[in-house]
């Protein structure tokens, strides 16, 4: 199964077929022809042909535009037997590749690949048939590693479809900076520092550009430590642009959520891994539980940095070869194999430290020979690393990408809940003031605040604090009176901000234009205007002077003023709310505003109370104000006597008078004593709570997961889906005659319409030989079909030695005989 991008198709012809089937001959860019036999009903085949024709007509790129792209592929140079192309590759070209190329038989491998590519195509047209998987698993040759990685991961299609994007990202942001950029700078000198290229300014600059470009491509993720290690490893074999697109595929599809700000993907996969340990090695699991050993103290770094900072690089690259070929399941298989291979030792470990030391020691011995005195040369050449990979494939054949996906799905809610409650605890712990609120109230305020913040953050760049609209929504999620009445649903929340400003500008005359005809409407408008002024006032009191925003700390304190404390502190708070000029007393104008806004607040908070007849208490409030008002200030207050004379109604109310005036009115006393606080509803219906907190992240995870599952399906071995699909009959007798064909939907999303084809060997038109039939058979057999029973905890040594010979073949030994 492989992907053939439509733009690499040169010609499609219908060829002779029986009455019941249609066959197509497809010629691709590299002048290879393959025959597709559609084995479904004629109708379906017709549909497929039409779809194919339409897609071909609409394909985004022409054959001509492929030329410049192909000139960036080393395989083209290789097959042309030119010596050129020295620039097509990573830092390894100038600074050397890790390991000994003689030992790894690089030259032989290159010859293999040359032959393979002549037979089965290269770069965009490469068909994964025959012994493709095997060739990858025996370890890729240095010069081709980068290209095969991007081919296996699918990043080659992104690179092909997005020419110039990488350079443009760097150009557009060359003068910008961000937290991520600073974090990248800190780590540039500490990424594979032992590799010579990263001791030179050029090498560092290369690494910087790729990380920086990605941080701008995906600002929400930005930069996570471990990415520096992964990218610096990629860059040994890949050009900057190749590494950049491969990093994209890693973050989006292969390791979803690993490097996100909460790292939920990494934590989730740890939970998945622990679950797999439980299922496959119950004795070990039991031991870990008994001694309180946490597997993830060792395994988390394996997954996060793809074994690159655990194993010697040479071996980590071999794991990477398999990982790009077969998807994330390889990480789990290798991880499980590590536990299994070290099982006896691990059973002796009684704490995390001893546990982790076992692996540290093991990794250093990966190149040791397992049977130095073995019977055959092959056996003697078996290293611990081979053994590890053998166990990974042989003892854990049931670990599939689909299975991993299922486990992710079933564990994600728990993991996310864990992360959220942790984040919540640390946010609450870091509050400098708790603002008169108790624990429960704080927790509830936290939930309200962050769910609002989250929804507002969705629209633009991620935010750390709320503006006016968000803050009102935040208050409104607790106290309904902060929000406009539900019925006239003319505005959505987003408009609050502007409308409030307009309202304030226009303030006293706003009522006018509505005229007298519609008294109800006029009242509603008046109330709305009061609401806007009141909420603006609350926001202004809460906001940070510098940023003009309300952060969580300020949200807590300001909510606490309304909801915590007691009668007197709340009255004091309102006094300060209306004391706009902060002179310690309310002027008449300030007090009038207070009365006006109370006319909005009181009936809403004390709703259903017949005592609250607006006129009565409001009139008496004003009367009392005049009665208890302080005499006009003396001249030593800085107010001139001339000012006093401007109006005979000028008066000032000090805080004590304010308290007295308010307490004289029963409705106001009740408002400030109990009902204002009671108007805040902190509890939420339980399911609403869950939905709010988790849903968005859930959705992100689901979609990422689904994408991943599809991506993996596309990239890896078994075709499962497709709008047109032939009957698949997997009996061995028919294998040679079958061809499967599917429109690749995921690739369409990338903007690369593709047809995926499984070509049969006996119909391969040009280069296919007898040899590839053998290859396919062996490819089919491993790893999934290896005969070991999944349940067997430990294989006896005899059994294993029997297996060794057969499997060594697939693990890269015995190549010499074949050459």
């Amino acid at each position: 199964m492989f992907v053939l991008p439509l733009f690499a198709v040169r010609r499609v012809e219908r060829v002779h077929s029986t009455a019941f089937t249609i066959a197509l001959s497809i010629t691709n860019w590299h002048q290879m022809r393959m025959i597709l036999r559609l084995e479904s009903s004629l109708d379906a085949s017709d549909n497929f042909c039409c779809a194919l024709r339409d897609q071909l007509k609409r394909r985004g790129r022409t054959l001509k535009s492929l030329k410049p792209f192909l000139s960036t592929c080393f395989s083209e140079v290789l097959l042309a037997d030119k010596d050129a192309g020295d620039h097509l590759g990573g830092l390894g070209l100038t600074h050397g590749f890790p390991g000994d190329t003689k030992k790894s038989k690089d030259a032989n491998k290159i010859n293999y690949w040359k032959k393979y590519m002549r037979d089965y195509g290269r770069n965009l047209t490469l068909a994964r048939l025959g012994n493709f998987s095997k060739l990858v698993r025996i370890g890729l040759p240095n010069r081709l590693r980068g290209e095969i990685w991007e081919l296996c991961s699918g990043s080659i299609y992104y690179r092909c479809m997005n020419p110039g994007v990488y350079e443009k990202l760097l150009e557009d942001h060359k003068d910008n900076t961000s937290l991520s950029i600073e974090e990248i700078e800190k780590d540039l000198n500490r990424s594979l520092p032992e590799y010579p290229a990263y001791q030179t300014p050029e090498g560092i600059e290369t690494l910087r550009r790729v990380l920086v470009a990605y941080a701008w491509k995906n600002p929400e993720l930005g930069y996570c430590q471990a990415m520096n290690i992964v990218v610096s490893a990629l860059l040994i074999y890949m050009t900057e642009e190749q590494a950049f697109w491969t990093l994209n595929v890693l973050c989006d599809r292969l390791l979803p959520g690993y490097y996100s700000t909460s790292m939920y993907g990494a934590l989730l996969d740890q939970a998945v891994f622990e679950q797999l340990v439980r299922e496959t090695m119950p004795i070990l699991d039991e031991h870990f539980k008994r001694h309180d050993i946490q597997v993830s103290v060792a395994s988390l770094p394996w997954f996060l940095s793809l074994f690159l900072n655990s194993m010697p690089l040479l071996f980590a690259f071999r794991v990477l070869d398999c990982f790009f070929l077969e998807g994330p399941k390889v990480l789990f298989q290798v991880g499980l194999a590590l536990l299994k291979v070290n099982g006896e030792e691990l059973l002796k470990a009684t704490d995390d430290g001893a546990f982790i030391d076992i692996f540290k020691a093991y990794f250093l011995r990966l190149d040791e020979h397992l049977y130095p005195n073995g019977k055959t040369a092959r056996m003697r050449s078996l290293t611990r690393f081979h053994h590890l990979m053998l166990i990974a494939y042989q003892d854990f054949p049931n670990i599939t990408n689909e299975g991993v996906m299922d486990l992710r799905r079933s564990l994600q809610s728990k993991v996310i809940h864990g992360i959220e409650s942790f984040t919540k605890r640390s946010h609450l712990r870091n509050l400098k003031e708790t603002g008169k609120l108790n624990k429960e109230a704080l927790a509830a305020v936290y939930d309200k605040y962050y769910s609002i913040l989250f929804y507002h953050g969705q629209e633009g760049v991620s935010q750390a604090s709320l503006g006016y609209a968000g803050y009102v929504e935040f208050l409104g999620s607790m106290a309904a009176w902060c929000l406009p009445p539900k019925e006239p649903e003319e505005d959505d929340e987003g408009q609050d901000e502007e409308s409030s400003e307009e309202a304030l500008d226009a303030s006293p005359v706003l009522v006018q234009p509505y005229g007298q005809e519609d008294e109800v409407k006029e009242l509603a408008a008046l109330d709305e205007e009061r609401r806007l002024r009141l909420t603006q006032r609350l926001f202004d009191a809460a906001k940070d002077e510098e940023t003009g925003q309300v952060g969580f700390q300020r949200a807590v304190v300001s909510t606490g003023e309304l909801l915590g404390g007691d009668l007197l502190t709340r009255i004091d708070y309102f006094f300060h709310l209306y004391d706009v000029d902060s002179d310690g007393k309310l002027s008449q104008a300030e007090f009038d505003t207070f009365c006006d806004e109370m006319a909005y607040l009181v009936p809403r908070v004390l709703s259903g109370d017949s005592l609250v007849e607006e006129e009565a208490w409001l009139v008496s409030l004003r009367d009392n104000a005049v009665r208890y008002a302080d005499p006009p200030p003396d001249s030593d207050d800085g107010v001139t006597s001339a000012e006093q004379e401007t109006s005979e109604h000028v008066f000032y109310i000090s805080l004590p008078s304010f308290r007295m005036i308010l307490l004289a009115e029963a409705p106001l006393e009740r408002l400030f004593d109990t009902d204002l606080a009671a108007s805040f509803r902190l509890e939420q219906p339980p399911q609403a709570y869950n939905v709010r907190l988790g849903r968005e992240i859930f959705n992100a995870l689901w979609s990422e997961g689904t994408k991943l599952a599809e991506g993996v399906r596309r990239m890896a071995v078994s075709p499962r889906r497709g709008s047109v699909r032939s009957r698949t009959d997997s009996t061995a007798s028919r294998r040679g005659r079958k061809s499967t064909l599917a429109i690749d939907t995921s690739a369409e999303r990338l903007g690369v319409p593709t047809v995926t084809v499984q070509r049969t060997d006996d119909e391969a038109s040009d280069g296919a030989s007898k040899r590839s039939t053998d290859g396919e058979a062996s490819g089919q057999r491993s790893p999934a079909a290896s005969p070991t029973s999944a349940g067997s905890e430990a294989m006896s040594e005899v059994d294993m030695l029997d297996e060794v010979d057969r499997l060594l073949n697939e693990l890269g030994h015995g190549d010499e005989e074949e050459v």
Binding site: N189, P193, C224, Q225, M263
Partner: protein, 249 residues
């Protein structure tokens, strides 16, 4: 690899072999303040100019002698980047000691250190011994009499910020010390590069650990009941924080 035998770590090993007391110690602090370098200096007496960032956490051990006892430090060196924060409880659970590290040339790193201290005091083992270490004093050492100028060659290159600005101290020792005193922390200024103050931090912690109490109920004081304090990523309510409880406060 990191485990050092009694003899190499101890000067004049005792004639009667003693059972070392295990002490779990965790290092916390902002990224690139030198946590790993402090450990490397203490364990191997080495310094690497460009130490790779720690992913997740690293684990090393070292024995040291305090008075008549041998202490085996089990050191958990954690990742500093903010997004790794939620993993930290996995490493500081059951820790009897912590070194919270900041960089004397970066004021913000002290703020982060303070927030770690706060977290440890509320979330970790209640008797945890915490030391505050202001690292990289070699970068500002012109004020320091203990150091010889010729040792300081090439210091400028060690600046992680990598810019051309002259490196200045941003956290005065007195300020950090005052904070440490007020919060009940041990306080040191260190240079992992020169080895300045590193041994002292660990020794002082070793002295401060209530070893006798730990020895009394045999080993049970250390790990607690098996599984009792286990962090279960999958357990509702516990979250990924080390301890149960529903709220932070």
């Amino acid at each position: 690899m990191a485990d050092v035998s009694d003899n190499t770590a101890l000067s004049g090993s005792p004639s009667v072999p003693m059972k070392p007391v295990q002490v779990k110690l965790v290092l916390l602090g902002e990224a690139a303040v030198g946590k790993s370098s402090l450990v490397l200096r203490f364990v191997n007496n080495e310094f690497q100019e460009n130490k790779e960032p720690t992913i997740g956490a690293a684990f090393l051990t070292q024995k040291t002698r305090v008075e008549d006892k041998i202490i085996k430090f089990e050191i958990w060196d954690t990742a500093g980047q903010e997004r790794f924060h939620s993993l930290a409880p996995m490493y500081y659970r059951n820790a009897q000691a912590a070194i919270v590290v900041y960089d004397v040339t970066r004021a913000a790193s002290l703020d982060k250190a303070k927030s770690w201290v706060k977290e440890l005091q509320r979330q970790a083992n209640p008797n945890i011994v915490i030391a505050l270490a202001g690292n990289k004093v070699d970068l500002v050492s012109d004020e320091d009499d203990d150091l010889h100028p010729d040792e300081l060659d090439g210091d400028e290159e060690a600046n992680e910020d990598g810019d051309d600005m002259p490196i200045t101290r941003q956290v005065p020792a007195e300020e950090a010390r005052a904070y440490a005193d007020e919060s009940g922390l041990l306080f040191f200024e260190t240079s992992a590069k020169l080895g300045h103050g590193v041994q002292e931090v660990f020794n002082e912690i070793a002295r401060k650990i209530p070893i006798d109490q730990m020895l009394m109920p045999s080993r049970s004081g250390r790990a607690g009941m098996p599984g009792s304090n286990r962090i279960d990523l999958n357990n509702d309510g516990q979250g990924i924080g080390g301890r149960g409880g529903s709220c932070a406060c």
